[in-house]
């Protein structure tokens, strides 16, 4: 190509920089704000998830109040306007951080290796941007930390071009009680009628997975959904971890080196990474041919890029490191999953399992699963799938999710489950890094380690369920046997009572049913049946026999 031609093309293109705020304002669907319905749902989600991060992650029993009010009804060319307010009893936001946390895209306290719902530093800002663009109204934040003597408030907008907060109003009040937490008010356009089913579903599922939380939701229809706390047990909160060498890429390595205070490579290895001791570090450095005593900073100097690459590749592939540590993770636990499933579905049978931790690409993860069967569950062609990641319910993009892939490929017939099935399958993935497919956090990628763990978890419970169903079936057959036989006991006793009166003793008093005969027959039938033990309990045959007989009437 000639230089003249190249210049011509350049002349046709206009170049400029775009701030990240502007980027998400322009591409709101990327963060889940594609239309007034989704926007309303997504806004509530972001607020609630921030509130939960500010509470249970810090061992506080959550109390969350969500209120949604219609400010202006919809017109022909404009959706309705709503005010969303979410209040929590969390740790609060430090006053000097409020503006940035709420007014600067990609500003977060969660950029650490810790299992939290939030991870991008984007959520609340995406909601504020949407609010700002549809109503022009600022966001209003009220917050106080436990230690603080004041309650701080800020009213702000986001400067989209600069990606900076514009403070409209700020101030503080003296705290008269010991309230701590955060309350956020947002005004936005939305479509409640359409969003309602999803929003309510979302809140129910939040309640399911956090039975230790108290949640109140006031709808624009003046309904109140109240989910009381059903247990005070709260899962052990997640803690912050150092990175695992397998999960570090070259850019992260560079930044770790630039921030480190360690003086030697050996020290850098043992201090900055998780579960690397001196012995391991030495062996590792030897294997890649790096000097343990060299200053790590020298690796980011010009001309040393080869060495840096060697270290980076070694970190990601060396087999001698211990697997990522899972004790930083906070699974929900089998008990709470079962409590949650019971509360929402009142099932006949429920069981949950928390699997051992595994890792992918240096990130530890734990898969938990729960199955609820029968009871109030409405039978359908396929099981109802409840997906969760770091305690967040995922409602959209179900078919793109790795859990769906696993669950839909299971042949339930081999577990004695017939279609239509009254079955709910819950899958929860806890990790310091959830492999979301997008920043809207709606589906998980098909990471093979994850896929096989989910499969193992679901199948393991399904096997228990099969056992339960087959015991249940045999119990049912036995119960039917008891009914079939026992209903004749009174008639038989009566006939035999007559046949047992000697002709010479035939009298008027002789025609009563011999009560002893009935008792004996009850004993005989009871003895002939042995119910299977189900969940450690077994039915008493005699009780069943007696209840049948109690209902039998002979018509003459």
């Amino acid at each position: 190509m000639s230089t003249e031609a190249e210049e011509k093309i350049k002349a046709q293109e206009k170049y400029r920089e775009m701030s990240i705020a502007e980027f998400f304002a322009k591409n709101k669907e990327l963060a889940g704000f594609s239309n007034p319905t989704r926007a309303l749902y997504q806004t509530i989600r972001e607020l609630v998830e921030n509130s939960l991060d500010a509470t249970d992650t810090h061992n506080i029993l959550p109390e969350i109040r969500i209120s949604l009010k219609e400010l202006e009804p919809a017109t022909e060319d404009k959706p309705a306007k709503y005010e969303v307010a979410v209040e929590d009893n969390g740790i609060g936001v430090p006053p000097n951080e409020i503006a940035n946390a709420f007014g600067k895209v990609l500003y977060s306290s969660k950029y650490v290796i810790r299992q939290t719902r939030g991870m991008y530093g984007l959520g609340i800002k995406a909601a504020i941007l949407y609010s700002q663009m549809t109503t022009g109204q600022p966001v209003f934040i009220v917050s106080s930390m436990d230690s603080s003597e004041n309650i701080y408030y800020r009213k702000l907008l986001i400067d989209i071009k600069k990606n900076e907060p514009i403070i409209i109003e700020e101030g503080q009040l003296i705290k008269k009680n010991n309230w701590h937490g955060t309350k956020v008010y947002l005004t936005l356009e939305g479509d409640w009628t359409r969003a309602k089913p999803k929003v309510i579903e979302y809140i129910k599922r939040i309640a399911l997975i956090s039975p230790y939380a108290e949640i109140i939701f006031e709808t624009p229809d003046n309904e109140i959904f109240y989910f009381p706390r059903v247990t005070k047990k709260i899962p052990k909160p997640p803690s912050e971890a150092k990175p695992h060498p397998h999960g570090i890429d070259i850019e992260q390595l560079k930044s770790m080196i630039s921030f480190t205070k360690t003086k030697t490579l050996l020290e850098f290895m043992t201090e900055e990474f998780q579960s690397i001791g001196e012995v391991t570090a030495k062996k590792f450095l030897e294997s890649i041919g790096l000097d343990p005593n060299m200053n790590p900073k020298s690796l980011i100097e010009k001309g040393n890029s080869k060495l840096l690459q060697t270290l980076s590749a070694g970190l990601r592939t060396y087999k001698g490191f211990r697997p990522p540590r899972s004790e930083y993770l906070s699974p929900i636990g089998e008990e709470l999953i079962e409590v949650g499933l019971k509360r929402l579905f009142n099932p006949e049978w429920v069981k949950a399992i928390t699997r051992q931790a595994k890792a992918y690409e240096g990130h530890p993860f734990i898969v938990e699963a729960g199955i609820a069967y029968g009871g109030n569950i409405i039978p359908s062609e396929e099981p109802v799938l409840l997906r969760y990641a770091n305690k967040i319910p995922l409602l959209y993009e179900e078919r793109e999710d790795v859990s769906y892939k696993v669950v839909s490929s299971i042949n339930w017939k081999i577990y004695n489950i017939e279609e239509p099935m009254p079955l709910v399958v819950l899958v929860h993935v806890a990790s310091t890094k959830i492999p979301y497919k997008g920043v809207g956090k709606e589906s998980l990628s098909e990471v093979s380690e994850l896929e096989s763990e989910i499969k193992n978890a679901v199948q393991e419970i399904a096997r228990s369920l099969r056992l339960y169903i087959s015991k249940k079936n045999s119990e049912h057959i036995l119960r039917e046997k008891i009914v079939t036989i026992s209903k004749y006991i009174p008639e038989i006793a009566r006939s035999l009572s007559i046949l047992s009166i000697h002709p010479d003793k035939w009298g008027s008093n002789g025609k009563n049913i011999d009560k002893d005969l009935i008792e004996k027959l009850i004993k005989i039938v009871s003895k002939s049946v042995e119910f299977p033990k189900i969940d450690g309990k077994e039915e008493d045959p005699e009780k069943v026999v007696r209840s049948v007989i109690a209902n039998v009437k002979l018509e003459q």
Partner: protein, 385 residues
């Protein structure tokens, strides 16, 4: 009932004791909390044996257990007990129920709740066939016939002849019934034979022929006791014939249509019916002789001249239908139809595919039937056993 006679009362007492004994055993088993069961001889063809020495069909030794604890048998178990109790009650209370009465007395509804708590109704039995089956169970289980248990059925059989019997408290002269006849009662064992002047018993299949022979004075002339079962004979008629044979030592001749159905009726008198083989011991008359009408009567055989002329054959013979052929083939399977004479008879039938109703002989002239055909056949021993 005030005028119940002694025989009747004694019979009741004996049978009631059998009931009582049997069911007290069950009662005691239950007191020991043993699984209740009834042992009932099997009433299937597979458990039917032909007793060659006695010449009758008998029930084999196979028994079935009817277990109350077996889901598939508990209803039958209940029905058998229920039936036994009704019969027992009737026995003790001096009643004579019919099988239909027993059906109604035992039929009632059991109300119960199923596993889902829904109210359900179940009748102790729906059809009379079910209660009849229970009667048969009680019969085989106790080794008693329904006649023994004083259960009445519709009277079908008739008898006339020179004989006096006692039935209940009355003496009946079987020769003084005018054009009518004595209806053989449901409880033939309660009949007492007083005196008689007869040399044989002639059983005719058809009521109409019986009436004709009666009016013609056949029994007076040939000193016969004339009996009919009016088609398929009931149990009382068979028992009555058996008693005449056993107790009065009279030969028994049987006259039926010349077709497989007629042969079967003869067979029922002689060896018993297949479904009810358990009763044969007391109902069958193994020495009964098949007098006719035989194939050789129609067509002649060897030196024997046919009773019918060519023209009469053309007029009276009916062409055998497929069903007749099928029946005849079935009969050849039974051992008592395997004798030389029977083989000849059946072969001729298969060959000619012809059957003849006994009325045809009568229409040749009642006198011919009564005073030529029958006496001649008896005199010349022209019968099949």
């Amino acid at each position: 009932m005030s005028h119940i006679d002694k025989i009747d009362i004694a019979a009741r007492k004996k049978v009631a004791e059998i009931f009582y004994k049997k069911f007290m055993e069950l009662n005691e088993e239950i007191s020991k909390e043993k699984p209740p069961k009834l042992e009932i001889p099997m009433r299937t063809f597979a458990n039917t044996e032909f007793d060659i020495s006695k010449g009758i069909l008998k029930l084999g030794i196979k028994k079935i257990e009817r277990n109350f604890l077996n889901m598939n048998e508990s209803k039958k178990f209940m029905q058998t007990l229920l039936m036994a109790s009704i019969i027992y009650q009737a026995l003790v209370e001096n009643e004579y129920p019919t099988i239909r009465d027993l059906y109604y007395r035992g039929k009632h509804t059991i109300l119960y709740k199923d596993l889902n708590g829904r109210l359900k109704e179940e009748n102790t039995w729906e059809e009379q066939s079910e209660s009849d089956a229970s009667i048969r169970d009680v019969e085989v289980m106790l080794g008693l016939l329904r006649e023994d248990m004083l259960i009445l059925s519709k009277e079908k059989g008739k008898v006339v002849g020179n004989m006096r019997i006692r039935s209940g408290n009355d003496v009946i002269d079987l020769s003084k019934l005018g054009h009518g006849a004595y209806a053989i009662e449901s409880t033939p064992d309660l009949i007492e034979f007083l005196d008689y002047d007869a040399e044989m018993v002639l059983v005719v299949e058809k009521d109409a022929v019986f009436q004709q022979l009666h009016r013609a004075g056949f029994w007076q002339k040939y000193k016969a006791l004339l009996v009919t079962g009016a088609g398929q004979p009931d149990r009382a008629t068979r028992r009555f014939v058996r008693r005449l044979h056993d107790e009065l030592k009279l030969p028994v001749y049987i006259l039926t249509d010349s077709d497989p159905y007629g042969w079967y009726i003869y067979s029922v008198f002689k060896v018993g019916s297949i479904q009810l083989s358990y009763e044969s011991e007391r109902l069958a008359t193994p020495k009964a002789k098949f007098l006719g009408v035989s194939m050789s009567d129609i067509f002649g055989y060897g030196t024997k001249k046919a009773y019918l002329s060519e023209e009469e054959r053309r007029n009276f013979i009916i062409k055998a239908k497929d069903l007749d052929i099928k029946r005849a083939k079935e009969l050849t399977r039974y051992s008592w139809f395997k004798s030389k004479l029977w083989k000849r008879e059946i072969d001729m039938f298969m060959d000619k595919k012809a059957k003849l109703e006994i009325e045809a002989m009568a229409s040749k002239g009642l006198k011919f039937l009564a005073f030529q055909y029958i006496p001649e056949k008896i005199q010349t021993n022209d019968w099949i056993e």
